[in-house]
Amino acid sequence: MPQDVLQQTYDVIVVGSGATGGWAAKRLAESGLKVALLEAGRAVSPREFTEHMPAYKLKYRDHSPEIKRTRPIQTQCYACMEYNYEWFVNDLENPYSTPADRPFSWQRLRVVGGRSLVWGRQSYRLSDTDFKAKTFDGYGDDWPFSYQDLAPYYDIVERYVGISGAPEQNDMLPDGQFLPPMQMTCGEVRLRDRAQAKFGRTLTVGRVAVLTQDHNGRAACHFCGPCERGCSTFSYFSSPFTTVKDAVKSGNCTLITNAVVAHVNMDNGANKASGVTYVDRVTKETKQVRGKAVILCAQALESTRILLNSSTSEYPNGLANSSGALGRYLMDHPAGGGASGTFDDLSTLPSANPPNRPNGIYMIRFRNTPKTGKHPDFIRGYGFQGGSSPEFDMDAPGIGAGYKKAVKRGIYQVSLGAFGESLANWDNFCEIDKNLKDAWGIPALRISMAHGKNEAALMRDAGVTAAEMLEAAGAKNIQVQTGFGIPGMSIHEVGTARMGDDPKKFVLNAYNQAHDVKNLFVTDGSCYVSSACQNPTLTMMAITVRACDHLIGRFKRNEV
């Protein structure tokens, strides 16, 4: 029999301690509710940060052949390195399957903080062109709320997290509560000015969850560069040292690490979630935690897996899945369309020394906007990320002393790469693979997703528009890229438990509450109705705070 080690019944059980779980725990615990925060991985200590370790101290200088054996999928992630690979899941212990012709790269961490430890930190608001996209072009579904509904929660999250950025007064990318922006290089200023002059497109410096001044007890960035290895001054936002810390400090939150959640427990008579069952990651004992409400913040695919594994006689196809939509409409931004080149007349030399700006540039979506009108070849749009800076030129031709000099002379590179909108499509989905279990005996996922024609058209167009802007800016050696990576590579997976007003079509209501089970919530990316083209984490955090405030209200009115 499962062991009920924790005698207490918590008000809320939060599953997952990353960007959204951290916010849920903080918001609920600080309101006075008793919270159990479950994390599948271990605790992380600042002692593990390696951002100030040069590569030559690593045995393989980040070219380790050993990591690939235990993490063949995780090494596809830009942030999975010889420095920090133990933060990422062991792929042998955490299997999933895909159809042979529909590969999917599922990149994830199981430690306190999850992917917030290594995320790209780019933080953009969605606009009503995103929330009401169906109204604009007829495809898919609108979100069950508008920008104005979410704006106050963006404010709350941004003020706490600290987002540096520049206001642009552009309807496609609403401004937020910004710390001072980081600066652009000469090449970026040139690209910005000429893209604006010739095409009317807006390039801004990246809006990034990295502090440009001391903020909420955390120090301003010291520009060493590689945030994904940790930050001794906690200058980029990651949940263990901010939201989770606050939640625990409130005295109302119990952090339970190494709790690999298997399924949600149901009180079938009352049609209510009664808690969760988890497997201790280390001892492999099965345990239970009881709660009056359950919030899943485990990451879109992981939360969906938990619900699919929580079937009951009332919900034979997965908990809270009377709509049949659970697991469907998996989205991940197609990425890669763009162009690169060189500014041969900019003569700044590359430097091996800091400061290194942990940020790039962002070109606001300019396709299919209310101002630009409808494009004949595709719906929705893309945003460019990139940068321009002098780089050492290891690929310089030649040998000998001349080669050594050419490497140091470097090239002044410029590049733009797009994240495009991924359309919500029923045929992109995840389900339980009945023949596959993880190392804890929990049934694993089968993920089936492929980008479609619209995504391909977006990336093709991104290659052309990036090249024309680089050319207008005077770049040479322009190379166009119209291909894109396999799904999952953007690590922006969203949409498998979408929110909407109609219980027959959607898993969650407008406040992330399961239509079928009123004390069950999902606030990670799985609630996304459409993917937009902006990096999703900021919006997930804002949605989480909004859902938690709704839940707090229900507790106050004794409705849970």
Binding site: A43, V44, P46, N84, Q183, G217, A219, F223, A352
Partner: protein, 218 residues
């Protein structure tokens, strides 16, 4: 520590740069036990920078001849000048280490390319590459080293020489410039912070002219 406003940003950074900073920054949370087995060597402070300097070093993968060829080739590509070259940076030892952990499938192309260099060397000079004079080495390598002048085109070169050469050169360059010697060659001063990032400091419209008549800026 978050409660005291007396610690300045500079102090925070200085503390962070010291190995002892962890006690300052340890959060006041009972985050549970950290199992050392689940941290990377880097995350528990292992410094492998002296690993290759072992006086009893022997190649793990390469034959003695292949090793000699690699030493000579790496030094021909990145020679000692007023700064140390590839030989001093133990480029051969690092590449042997990385390759020895790879699959045979990934080892084979590198080994084949080394063999190609020696076979061309024997064909033209009747000697292995490591036995050539430096001007003979240059005579062999120069046509390969300049054959692909435009790096932005990625189609495979028809001539096998540049293909083999570029495969070896990019591995050698990676091994050299990631070494401590290589980092110093690039000018790294050992620091991790030099104040905030400063971007373009030119006048607001300095870069907004057309590409042809705009002033070049540094």
């Amino acid at each position: 520590m978050f409660r005291t406003p007396l610690i300045s940003r500079r102090d925070l950074i200085r503390a962070a740069l010291l190995a002892g900073a962890t006690s300052v920054f340890a959060p006041a949370l009972a985050f549970g036990q950290t199992a050392p087995a689940e941290t990377t060597p880097a995350q528990h402070g292992v410094d492998d920078s002296r690993l290759l300097a072992d006086p009893n070093w022997k190649p793990a993968l390469l034959s003695d001849q292949q090793n000699e060829t690699l030493i000579a080739l790496s030094e021909a590509i990145i020679p000692a000048t007023d700064t140390p070259g590839a030989k001093a940076a133990l480029v051969n030892r690092f590449l042997d280490l990385v390759l020895s952990g790879e699959t045979e499938e990934l080892q084979r192309p590198f080994i084949e390319s080394l063999a190609y260099v020696d076979s061309e060397s024997r064909r033209l000079f009747d000697k292995n590459f490591s036995d050539l004079h430096s001007d003979q080495q240059n005579e062999l390598l120069q046509p390969w080293a300049y054959s692909v002048r435009n790096r932005w085109f990625s189609e495979e070169h028809a001539d096998p020489g540049p293909q083999h050469f570029n495969r070896l050169k990019s591995a050698i360059a990676m091994a050299y410039y990631t070494s401590e010697i290589g980092q110093k060659e690039l000018g790294w001063d050992g620091s991790f912070t030099h104040g905030p990032f400063r971007g373009c400091q030119h006048a607001p419209a300095a870069h907004s002219g057309t590409p042809h008549n705009a002033t070049s800026h540094n």
